[in-house]
Assembly symmetry: C2
Homo-oligomer: 134 residues x 2
């Protein structure tokens, strides 16, 4: 059994802070759960373009409000506490937080943690896991 | 992209209520995410004996307090908002909620939904997914 505290994770190198969002990675690939599990905050006023080409992701909103645009269909959905979106088809999307949005996220396959460090600068040519511009 | 609202799920047959806990299954096996994703409340004062022989589970506490006992090691851990426990070794355990504990849970492999209906009465002989007594 593994026990993780969000406060400990936020104080560790498993807490990633970028210009548009921050993410505390409670479980990564190394834990062997078959998914990774993150508490992620997307910042108010940002426009987050995301496309997880190699991962499926579920995102459950705990706090905050905004919208998500599905670039495949053009649909825009409201995000608020209690809403979950699942990127079951590697959906290209844009999240526009009106306020900071705090979420619980699960990824399959699990994120290794390495992708994130790449995001803070240039992306390796072979890193198609996370493509994010804010 | 799938959009799910907790309130809709709670009003549907994906919301399971038992004597010891209730669970809104936002994502089940059918969604094809490779994990299932639940909002589960464990009731105050119960003693929940659990053993997921065929699944790995991560549980993140949103609200409430209690303890979890790891029957493999004898250790007892506090549960409160911001604590995650991960059953990475099919750990036999007991959760004792002092108050109602609201959690986000992810299972790998995903729960089908069928196991739960079995829980409300007798367990099929071949159903070792969820063994719960409160």
């Amino acid at each position: 059994m593994l026990i993780r505290k969000l406060s400990d994770t936020r104080a560790s190198d498993r807490n990633i802070v970028t210009d548009g969002w921050e993410s505390a990675r409670l479980l990564l690939k190394d834990e062997g759960m078959g998914f990774s599990f993150h508490i992620t905050t997307m910042y108010a006023g940002k426009e987050l373009h995301m496309h997880y080409k190699n991962h499926l992701e579920a995102v459950f909103v705990l706090q905050g409000e905004g919208t998500i645009e599905d670039l495949g269909t053009g649909e825009i959905h409201e995000l608020k506490p209690g809403t979950l979106y699942a990127l079951n088809a590697h959906d290209k999307h844009i999240v526009r937080p009106k306020t900071d949005i705090v979420t619980v996220c699960a990824f399959n396959p699990p994120v290794t943690g390495r992708e994130v460090h790449d995001e803070t600068g240039a992306y390796p040519a072979d890193d198609s896991v996370v493509v994010l511009a804010s």
